[in-house]
């Protein structure tokens, strides 16, 4: 019976998604608003079920629930809820109001939940593909828009490539370790050095495949284009839930089955983290589109979070999880602002369009300024704490040079975050943006409140993330 309760959230998500799909198909009227609202409720219930799901490994080691997966699942659900709340008005404005949108988000989340809880390479791959398939469609959702189609195609081709790499890596690991089960792989790698050598090659492929999905450099090329091309409502989703799910998976895979060969992959992760921080900082400087800017910014943020993985300790995992949670909120807040940027119901995306925002709409300017400062890591805002924990983990694990590099790129990145604030507060202009919808205002307000007030009570998130990290580090032996 406990097996049923463990698997219940996935069943719930999948069945709810199918029911909504059917109700959309077999009715004539446009129910997209109702279906979006229902999806938000479904996601909230699913999050509750995920938290309540009994811990343990089921289906002969295919699927596992523990504090770590609960933490990541809740973040994923929050990201999806936020993105859905942002999507309604925007989709209506650009004429892509279709009931498939929330349904695809639900299916993607189903894949992510499977992904996060996978404790076998096969489950991992299945979850990965369930998620990716929905995301490919979403990227090209504005199908009459050339740029959106281009973004969809780009994302599909590169996504397929990364899936291929991942599958190739999985097959190599299976070949040398003799099992696809996480615990079995960990056992094989710990006990047999020869198996470790072959599996390391597979490990590299797995790492690259996953790095593609979290847009870590040097596998980041698709990010700015897809961020810019896809409709903003989709970008908001891309920037949050999938990144967190795949990052959680990355933490699980690297520290679980590949934990015994930490020494083999740590340098690799350090290089990826360093490259991401540098490219995220340098690439964003010359951007004029705020969506492209966010694309580069997300590359940089993944670099900082990877610092926690490179540390390879419980503190590192905890730091990365805190970073991801705060990144999620900041991204939702920022994308709330970007979605609110429309003039005459047409989205505007240039940073220069924000000139004079501070006197025109002080609330908007305040929220976006808070998000930018927070992303730059200026205390007392939440983003500072994210950086603080990963820097702490990195230094304690003896990765001083990486932390120093992180500091240098922080200063460079601060420059372009400041530019957004500069345009809003110092430049004169008449932005004349449309009125925001209630959903967007709600997401923006909630994100700003979290970011500003986090400093007064950081310990709850720290406690939860420490529990999650502990669960991950102790579940290796199953």
């Amino acid at each position: 019976m406990s097996t049923f309760y463990t698997v219940l959230p996935i069943l719930f998500l999948a069945i709810a998604g199918m029911i909504m799909l059917m109700s959309g198909v077999f009715t004539d009227r446009d129910h997209s608003f109702a279906i979006t609202a229902a999806s938000i409720v479904v996601l909230a219930i699913a999050a509750r079920l995920l938290v309540a799901a009994p811990g343990g490994t089921i289906f002969h080691g295919l699927y596992q629930t523990n504090d770590f997966t609960r933490f990541a699942d809740v973040l994923v659900a929050l990201g999806a809820i936020g993105a859905l709340a942002l999507s309604v008005t925007f989709n209506r404005n650009i004429g892509i109001t279709r009931f498939e949108f929330p349904v695809l988000v639900l299916f993607a989340v189903t894949g992510m939940v499977v992904l996060v809880s996978a404790s076998d390479l096969i489950t991992l791959y299945i979850g990965f593909e369930i998620q990716s398939l929905a995301l490919y469609v979403l990227a090209a959702f504005a199908r009459h828009n050339l740029r959106s189609s281009e973004a969809g195609l780009k994302y599909f081709v590169l996504g397929a490539l990364s899936s291929g790499l991942l599958l190739y890596g999985i097959s190599l690991v299976y070949g040398f370790a003799g099992t696809t089960n996480f615990a079995g792989i960990a056992h094989a790698l710990a006990g047999h050095p020869t198996a470790a050598v072959g599996s390391t090659i597979g490990l590299v492929f797995v790492l690259v495949g996953l790095a593609f999905k979290i847009s870590a450099a040097p596998f980041h090329m698709w990010t700015p284009d897809v961020y810019e091309g896809a409709p903003t409502s989709v970008t908001a989703f891309f920037a949050t839930a999938p990144k967190i799910a795949v990052f959680a998976l990355l933490l699980r895979v690297m520290l679980g089955p590949f934990g015994p060969v930490l020494g083999q992959w740590r340098d690799l992760v350090q290089i990826i983290a360093a490259a991401s921080m540098v490219i995220g900082a340098i690439g964003a400087i010359r951007q004029t589109s705020i969506k492209r800017l966010m694309g580069y910014s997300s590359i940089g943020h993944m670099g900082y979070a990877l610092m926690g993985l490179a540390a390879g300790t419980a503190a590192g995992v905890s730091g990365a999880l805190i970073y991801l949670a705060i990144y999620l909120v900041m991204s939702l807040g920022t994308f709330g602002c970007i979605i609110a940027m429309s003039r005459g119901r047409q989205p505007v995306e240039r940073i220069a369009d924000l000139a004079g925002m501070a006197s025109d709409d002080p609330r908007f300017a305040f929220v976006l300024a808070v998000m930018m400062w927070s992303m730059a890591g200026i205390p007392p805002l939440a983003g500072f704490f994210g950086k603080f924990y990963v820097f702490a983990a990195a230094i304690n694990a003896g990765l001083g040079p990486l932390a120093v590099l992180g500091i240098i790129t922080s200063v460079i990145a601060a420059f372009y975050y400041l530019r957004v604030i500069k345009v809003m507060y110092f430049d004169a202009g008449e932005p004349g943006l449309d009125r925001r919808s209630a959903g967007v205002s709600l997401v923006m307000g909630a994100a700003a409140a979290f970011t500003v007030l986090f400093v007064f009570h950081p310990s709850t998130l720290t406690t939860l993330s420490t529990m999650a990290a502990h669960a991950l580090m102790t579940s290796q032996g199953f």
Binding site: A358, S359, P362, W373, A376, I378, P379, P380, F384, K387, F388, F391, A392, I395, N396, G400, A403, V404, I407, S410, V411, A414, F415, L418, I421, K422, Y425, F426, V455, P458, S459, T462, T463, T466
Partner: protein, 505 residues
């Protein structure tokens, strides 16, 4: 005795700033009026609390007083800890004194008044919090958080090149403070806590101390504008609105000097001894080179800004003599400089408000037309160059005594800096007050009004009183400075013993 005095002083301005946003929409002129009065009353209330604190402070007690603590991130050994000792007491008081002055000085500001006043109150929260923080992370948050209001103050209400100045200020300071974040993380890892009192009693290996010292030097040096990390300063001081310049020069620059006293000296004694000549060199180059740079300025505001940097050089030398006289001189000089530089910038603001140009070649002859103004300006200039009978003299002479104990040549060069400061300040006085009056088309020549009296008179009284009764100030921080120097000497000798022991083995 403990009624959360420091926390109250720290968070009251923030509450005032939040309150402003509940007094109606920004289009209403009454909102601007409300914002001004809220800012004034909040900052005055904090000033009253500061007076209560100074009166209630017991100088004969060792360690920190008015200690206030609460759980914050207990699992990581990080807590909310506040407290003051003789060293930090006056900086808290200085921040509390100068914020209402800055608010009064911006009474005529008409652009987005509410945001402006909120930024100043936020700045007060950050500065008071920073000077009273006893937890390293808390300290860092306040130290760095200052950037946010200051960036807006310079960028929104500043002069022509405000954007350049604001961005330069922000990036310089951020680049300076991030190394301290690494130092913070390392020390936290090393000691298992960020409690500053415990960190002061945690021994650190001498080679590591050198690295940490460099990290602290970068962050505090940029904040205190120690040569050659001062290049952001002329821009920021020149372009910020006057009240912003007052806060920058009088309070924010003290953050760096305070950091040296609170972190570098007690926590890194060996490194302090090792870097002592280096710090002397930086301080002296600052004094001499910046004095010449000041002499070359054509703008009265920039000239005073450079004079401020030169004085920071003096303060750095005083601190790193690590003698009781030198540190007390530096502390005295910091308080005095805070008062004097604020007053000098207020005097500049008075000219500005009357439509005068700030260019020295367009000013002149004000002594006969604005006699009261001229008297005030003269007094503050004299205090700035260290005339006996003013507070500036006490600080400088104490630093000189400390310097001569450390090294004769250092004292000589510091003394030459004092002569240079007389040179450029007298040049300024001559041009502004005594030269032939130049034709200034539409400048008003009215002497100072009641609001300006209210700002200048308390500062003038303090400057003279401190000049004649310096003991009133020194006896309060004497104990803390004695403890600091003794702990430093003890740490050095025990460190030497440890090294000898290693050699013997």
């Amino acid at each position: 005795m403990n009624f959360h005095l420091l926390s109250l002083m720290t968070w009251l301005p923030l509450a005032g700033a939040v309150l402003m946003y509940f007094t109606g929409d920004s289009a209403n002129p009454a909102t601007a009026r409300n914002a001004r009065w809220i800012a004034l009353w909040t900052s005055l209330l904090v000033l009253v609390l500061a007076v209560v604190m100074v009166v209630g402070f017991n100088p004969s007690v060792h360690g920190f007083q008015f200690v206030d603590s609460a759980e914050w991130i207990p699992a990581y050994g990080i807590g909310y800890r506040m407290g003051v000792d003789g060293i930090s007491l006056f900086f808290v008081a200085l921040s509390a004194l100068l914020t209402p002055v800055a608010v009064l000085a911006s009474w005529r500001e008409s652009r987005r008044v509410r945001d402006y006043m909120a930024a100043f109150l936020l700045l007060e929260t950050m500065t008071i919090g920073m000077f009273s923080a006893l937890d390293f992370l808390l300290f860092y948050i306040f130290f760095e958080g200052v950037l946010i209001p200051m960036y807006l103050i310079i960028g929104v209400w500043g002069g022509e090149r405000r954007i350049h100045a604001a961005v330069k200020f922000f990036l310089f300071t951020l680049a300076g403070s991030l190394p301290m974040l690494l130092a913070l993380v390392w020390m936290w890892h090393h000691a298992g806590t960020t409690d500053m009192v415990q960190l002061m009693h945690t021994a650190i290996a001498p080679t590591t101390q050198d690295w940490l010292f460099v990290a602290f030097l970068l962050s505090f040096g940029v904040k205190a504008a120690v040569w050659p990390m001062h290049t952001w300063l002329p821009d920021a001081y020149g372009e910020a609105p006057l009240p912003g310049t007052i806060m920058l020069a009088a309070v924010l620059s003290k953050m760096g000097a305070y950091g040296f006293l609170r972190f570098s000296l007690p926590m890194l004694p060996q490194a302090t001894a090792y870097f002592e000549p280096f710090m002397f060199a930086l301080g002296i180059i600052g004094i001499v080179y910046i004095s010449f740079a000041a002499l070359a300025q054509t703008d009265i505001k920039r000239m005073i800004a450079y004079s401020s940097v030169a004085h920071m050089g003096l303060i750095v030398v005083g601190i790193f003599t690590v003698t009781v006289a030198g540190i007390e001189g530096a502390l005295f000089q910091m308080v005095s400089h805070g008062l004097v530089i604020a007053a000098l910038f207020l005097c500049v603001g008075i000219l500005l408000a009357r439509g005068h140009s700030l260019r020295l070649d367009q000013l002149g002859g004000l002594a006969s037309r604005m006699p009261v103004y001229a008297t005030f300006l003269m007094l503050f200039v004299m205090a700035n160059v260290g005339l006996p009978g003013t507070s500036g003299f006490v600080g400088e002479i104490l630093v000189m005594i400390g310097a001569i104990q450390a090294n004769f040549w250092v004292a000589l060069l510091v003394g030459s800096g004092m002569i240079l400061s007389v040179m450029y300040m007298l040049v300024m006085i001559r041009r502004v007050l005594f030269d032939k009056a130049r034709s200034v088309a539409n400048a008003v020549m009215a002497d100072i009004g009641p609001r300006e009296w209210l700002m200048l008179a308390p500062l003038a009284v303090l400057v003279i009183v401190l000049g004649f009764v310096p003991g009133g100030l020194t006896h309060i921080f004497d104990g803390a400075v004695q403890d600091l120097v003794h702990a430093h000497v003890a740490a050095l000798s025990s460190g030497a013993h440890a090294r000898l022991a290693m050699i013997k083995q």
